[in-house]
Symmetry: C3
Subunit: 465 residues, 3 copies
């Protein structure tokens, strides 16, 4: 590719010249606002300890399953993408050879933007220049200004939420909160999946550890529930604003306590069926909502991914290796038991995400347009991409307006991609609103107010920041 | 908002200047055609008695669940929106404060258009001007020219269908039909849901009344079927052209008469299960099709809404209070038993609606593109909105062309919104066709013929007007 | 219609002038490339024997269920469209009267393009000119240059795959392969549906014939499997590159051989249930994948159509008469057993098609973006249309890029429509890429490489040509 395109000032803006001009002005309004990142997977320790980033492959390729999956699909084995099997430079060469695969993808956009804005590369990646780009990025990574805390400031991040194990002591969060030299907010997020999903390989062990650590001396189901409540409280005391739930489906259920206890014990004894797993998860999603109503943590739900679809890959390389595949979900019936009891509860915030686009117009916008607790989670994962974000806005706005959205969520492990991701979202919001202005469906003045609300005020409001 | 935008002549038209010019010409062709409204919820008595409209809140806010739901979602309790709890002016102030919620929504578009075109307001609504707009609208409502019959004429309505209880005596319709001073057509529509859905709270009572009133002296299932046939005939005699069915799902089923009778009696004795309800409704949808084949009433089906999703709200405030939430439907298998027997029946017209957009390209366009009886219902409820209407046309046209659509249906209780709704639809049709012209997929001449057909001829043809 | 539009050089290109200019250049790059048609339903014998085409109705109307279905929907009975009931000229007149029904449809586009480019008609079809167009096309059909082999060359077809019965002797394919005067490639495709779907009316007979012909002397299930393997090998030896599977659902299942055998025998004795049919098909889809891994045939799957929806029409007029209606499918769970074992198998190519658009972004793009075996089948049947193809690209590209697509597949019986269909696809690819260029999401240089890859290299690569 001869022309550098990542930093074109009009990237992602609509082609029609009149609409583009409107979009440019809308974008200008929000382009320099601080980044609010209320849900993601960056490790707080990396920021606290200001750990230097590793080599280019370990930073940008091997940990990013968006990237490795597409290289794998092209015929490169997972083995060849493991640092222990191939050196960093070799993996980087593989990646550079694979770079054309990413044309048109969201990952390609984020990466290209990073290469230019963060690493100062001026040429497109290619097999020929693989070593040169490896060296250039390596040099950049060695610079003293290229440490997590410096980038946190350069990226203009105001709030960054991490995702944490319920038994995490949150020591890094504490250090950061009390460090007068660090001015950002790094907040923990309570994520109890591995303590709730009884099919999780270490569920049994996790639960024993949880009860022992925080069960108020009780054992069994009562201790389990108490321990979850206690750990949530601990998270709240250390700045958490939300609890996140990676459930299989959005089903919820209010079990009788005795039934819940029996099910819990059946699982503990290793005798639970697949249906037990479903029922227990549904019950616990309900319980987590109850706790959110009580302790104020915003509840976010991320359902509908068939985790570890390819067992041989999972067995050899573990989870989060690129083969989580979405399936259809039913929010209308699934989430109803929860909403029956908590849908109008005071100050309860429930942010619903989906990988199944069909529920945007059919279920989520209607739900968020009635229940004061329900917010529309931003397009997530495979849907966190320009066209998909436009489809989302088109699908939900006519029913639910702009006020019921969560604001953008980057959901990323890839720290250096955060500005590119938030930037893409702002460009898409500007594009969508610009079309409404051009079609005389909203005035330009109001569109300017809406984009500021969507980019800046919504995440603060929805996540109680 | 500083600029008034509702009456911009290019509102809802595409941004591209060349396409917009084509759309303007197409719109000009149909903009002044009379309104044909073959399905809606206006009360015939209001027109017959020419009842003055109530205050602004009771006219535009409290009865419109599209409006109250979004105000409710923003944190205003249902109590605060009840006329008995808050005065009209207070509710109007709440609405004005909430007005920004409606940016980008279909309701916002209809309301803004009404404010300007019907009520002559020249400023955007706001909390500051709430009292002024309340007074201005109130003054307008007190004008003698602002009565239902005068507006009926001003709005250029030619046909307006109401939705009526099977036992309604249709006296208002009769009066209107015989009143030489009234020139519109106000037609009843047969809507038997509350006599078919055995989960309806008053199903038992309804059925007894129905059989007593029209069962030809028979009791039991035979009297029930006869009574439905008789009442349909009564509707036909009083001008009805269609029967409407708000079913849970599009399932249909041909039960053996003995089984149907047993099921009917089980329901009557209060012992029916949820599955019985489903089976009986499926059976009755089939029976209603049979009756339509016999008596000529166009059959319209509106499935896929989970009614009264939030039980506490339903118990306190009743049905139609903003929490009917759609879910996925299966037309291909569900409607099949009906189509097996009546799909090619002479002069049978079956108009299929959906709140689940996924069936547009997957099921409805293929069905309507084969069965002479099947027509594509216009985008309905949450989907009666500019972007959703464009998605509908894009989804169905390539398979079924333009000839298989029902034409626009406003489905509204809000009499004053009728011109805005039909106007929006005409603008969207012009926009869609203009794009096809710009892409050289249809000639401009043919597009002009198609838009007249879609706006004017289709509803007359499909609804046998 | 006064203006001829089919041959407008900008047809199907985007309306925005800047984007259109980019699209024109992209289109120019691929417009004259040879046609690669790796999946379709043209009869090899017609090409081998260079059979003259029949009359206009028998060529363009009666065998094309895309065409007859919409005429049928408009109220013309199936009887009136049967050559034995109505003469060719009469059917043609019916078709010409019905021509306006096709405005906006994919069929209308293909037909209009053929009328102009292939038959040299300069006026739009109409009832008035029906006889004239019948005569003009008839005259063209009588020309010596208007034979299949001449058109094959004129159309610039390089490869054309047919779809064939497993017991076909492929003699026409052999003749063509050895005929020095014929320069195209006509390849057979192995399509065993009627030997796998135990609900198929002639399944029992088919299976007996299959086992007798190729079962290596074995009987029963072992002979059945051996015969399928043998016939696949025969197809490979005669140039086949793929095996195609028109399954009900994408479910797959690895049955224990003893269970498979028992099920097979139950079916053979006529005692199989609907569930048996499902299980056996799922098992055989798995087996077919195993065979593909062994013999190298590309596996294509076409699920999700409810065949012969209207039984009375099926009974009177047979299969493929326009009432196959799609339904929702579940690829994520359905295809998983197959992918568990063969998803990363060396050189295995599995091309997944769908009539349910919802799986594009939700399931197929994620699957194809991880599994090296999985390719995204081109939009198929009802979705083989300009807007639907754009929706496909928008839905899959951001997750899977361009490299995971199969390339265009015309899937047609209508030989003369092949250039129009491939041409439409190329125009849509140019339109999609032009938008990405205009939005600075891909450079113009790379877009030129991508369109050549998508149009020309992808089908060669994916179908091992």
């Amino acid at each position: 590719m001869s022309t550098s395109i990542a930093t074109h000032p009009d990237r992602l803006l609509p082609a029609d010249p009149g609409t583009r001009e409107i979009a440019r002005n809308l974008l200008a309004r929000v382009q320099d606002l601080p980044i609010i990142s209320p849900h993601g997977h960056v490790d707080a320790t990396v920021i606290e300890q200001n750990t230097p980033f590793p080599d280019p492959a370990a930073l940008l390729v091997t940990p990013d399953h968006y990237v490795t999956r597409l290289i794998h699909a092209s015929g490169v084995s997972m083995e060849q993408l493991q640092p222990q099997n191939a050196g960093a430079r070799e993996i980087w060469r593989t990646f550079c050879r694979s770079w054309p695969l990413f044309e048109g993808t969201a990952s390609g956009y984020w990466l290209r933007t990073q290469f230019q804005s963060v690493f100062g590369l001026h040429e497109e990646l290619s097999a020929e220049t693989a070593d040169a780009s490896f060296d250039a990025i390596s040099a950049r990574l060695a610079e003293p200004g290229f440490r997590p805390r410096e980038l946190f400031k350069d990226f203009n991040i105001e709030v960054l939420a991490t995702t944490d194990d319920p038994l995490d002591d949150l020591s890094s969060h504490k250090e950061l909160a009390h460090d007068p030299s660090f001015h950002g907010r790094v907040l923990p997020t309570f994520r109890p999946d591995a303590y709730i999903n009884i099919a999780h390989p270490s569920w049994g062990t996790n639960v024993e550890r949880l009860i022992a650590a925080a069960g108020d001396g009780a054992t069994g189901y009562g201790g389990y529930i108490a321990a979850l409540e206690n750990r949530r409280r601990y998270f709240v005391e250390h700045g958490a604003v939300s609890a996140d739930h990676g459930v299989r489906t959005p089903a919820t259920l209010k079990l009788d306590p005795a039934d819940a206890e029996a099910l819990f014990e059946r699982a503990r004894s290793g005798k639970a069926s697949f249906e037990d797993r479903e029922v227990f998860e549904a019950h616990m999603t309900y319980q987590m909502a109850r706790m959110s109503v009580e302790d104020g943590l915003v509840m976010t739900i991320h359902p509908g991914s068939f985790r570890n679809h390819h067992t041989p890959t999972f067995e050899a390389f573990g989870a989060d290796t690129g083969h989580d595949i979405p399936f259809a979900v039913n929010y209308t019936e699934g989430i109803r038991p929860l909403l029956q009891d908590f849908g109008t509860a005071k100050d309860f915030h429930l942010v619903l995400f989906t990988l199944d686009e069909t529920v945007f117009s059919r279920e989520l916008a209607p739900l968020a347009g009635f229940y004061p607790s329900v917010y529309l989670g931003a397009p997530w994962w495979f849907l966190d991409a320009p066209d998909a974000m436009l489809r989302f806005r088109s699908a939900v706005t006519e029913t639910a307006g702009f006020s019921r959205s969560s604001g953008f969520i980057d959901d990323t492990r890839a720290f250096c991609s955060i500005p590119a991701r938030h930037g893409a979202s702002r460009r898409v919001e500007a594009s969508f609103l610009a079309r409404l202005v051009a079609e005389h469906r909203i005035s330009e003045d109001r569109a300017h107010e809406v984009i500021v609300d969507v980019v800046d005020s919504a995440p603060r409001r929805v996540f109680k920041l």
